[in-house]
Symmetry: C2
Subunit: 225 residues, 2 copies
């Protein structure tokens, strides 16, 4: 078994205000490639909650599809998340951006009472049950908290979001630029990225550290059920 | 004068098939930040030539604005290219993607006879006349060949594109992954990126090398006119 580790990357659109945060997504792909693993991008085939003009910050009233817009970041090499098969992957990771809180879940409007998109729930549960590691950047850790409940994550040190995470039954730990929170029992790795006022090189550090931790956890034997 | 060097980055939309190639754009920003300089993103405030579904590769018939879509990559911190003031910047760089050949110029349809968007022409001419360095990735070097004429650039080793560059009066030099062509007389730096079948870490290497060469050329005294 000398084959490369394979990581699934779940995107949520293309742009910080209504989809995946582009720097976090690209720098996650770069970290995976540089650390000797391979990636496959996924996104749910659903409509975006909204489309935001990134100059004005205002909703435009347009309709866009999460999978189709995510394909911009993936250069067309992307699969519908309903086709995700846990047996193909060693780890799964969620870059951030408001898409995680608008398209992958309803956290942006419903907070701790949010729903999570069904294909996202299925992929997270399948990985967790298989004892395989899951990572999340920026605001995306709220999805892991909602789906898995008793896990430890970080979104930096935003108190409102941390309170919502606690209300979901999870534990929040404060972290700074480039730092990760690692829940070894649940194989969950998270980092704040642009939940802090960061520069792009700090995003690269966060993505590097998440991918390194995922690859280390992927080496450990899966629990015997 | 201990202040950081400042580099203008000209985007052309958001997505390889109808705008800026996202990996090239993000990794240019990362290279600038990591090498101790700062960046300001720009894009022309014009409509895209087309909008392409990046899953199917087909035009959708939608209408999108180059500045508004580019703002996704820039996280909203972007300026209309007509406001570009050469005195503010030490270097200017153009990431690639079909947007360079569809929105910043008409190269994708007109080849060597292409037009270049007026604010792009003005920015390039102003930098060149001021003796300041200009970089371009992927297909974007064709714009520098069209506007400046007698310059040396690379787009990798695609013979059709190289022939068009020669027809514009410029010189083409073959280059491989991560390699740059440096025209020291004209202070023009170019690299192939996704004009070759590259992995994302090779794009990062190309962007790193372009930015390093731009910053080195920016240290040299400007020619006395």
């Amino acid at each position: 078994m000398n084959s490369k580790k394979k990581i699934g990357v779940v995107l949520s659109g293309c742009g910080v205000n209504d989809g995946s945060e582009i720097h976090e997504a690209v720098l996650t792909l770069l970290a995976i490639d540089r650390q000797g693993a391979t990636y496959q991008c996924f996104a749910p085939n659903v409509l975006q909650r909204d489309v935001v003009n990134h100059v004005t910050g205002k909703a435009t009233g347009e309709t866009r599809n999460v999978l189709v817009e995510s394909a911009r970041i993936a250069r067309g090499r992307i699969r519908d998340l309903v086709t995700f098969d846990v047996s193909e992957f060693d780890a799964l990771v969620f870059p951030g951006g408001f898409g995680a809180a608008k398209n992958l879940s309803s956290f942006a409007v419903d907070g701790a009472d949010c729903n999570v998109e069904p294909s996202v729930v299925a992929a997270i549960r399948a990985m967790h049950q298989a004892g395989k590691p899951i990572g999340a950047l920026c605001i995306a850790p709220v999805i892991l908290a909602k789906v898995l409940g008793k896990v430890t994550v970080t979104i930096g040190h935003d108190t409102d979001t941390a309170s919502a995470i606690t209300a979901m039954g999870a534990t929040h730990e404060d972290r700074g630029h480039g730092e990760v929170a690692i829940d070894r029992a649940n194989k969950v790795v998270t980092t704040p990225c642009y939940m802090l006022d960061a520069s792009i090189r700090q995003i690269a550090e966060g993505a590097d550290h998440v991918v390194a931790a995922l690859l280390e956890l992927a080496k450990a034997p899966a629990p015997v059920n």
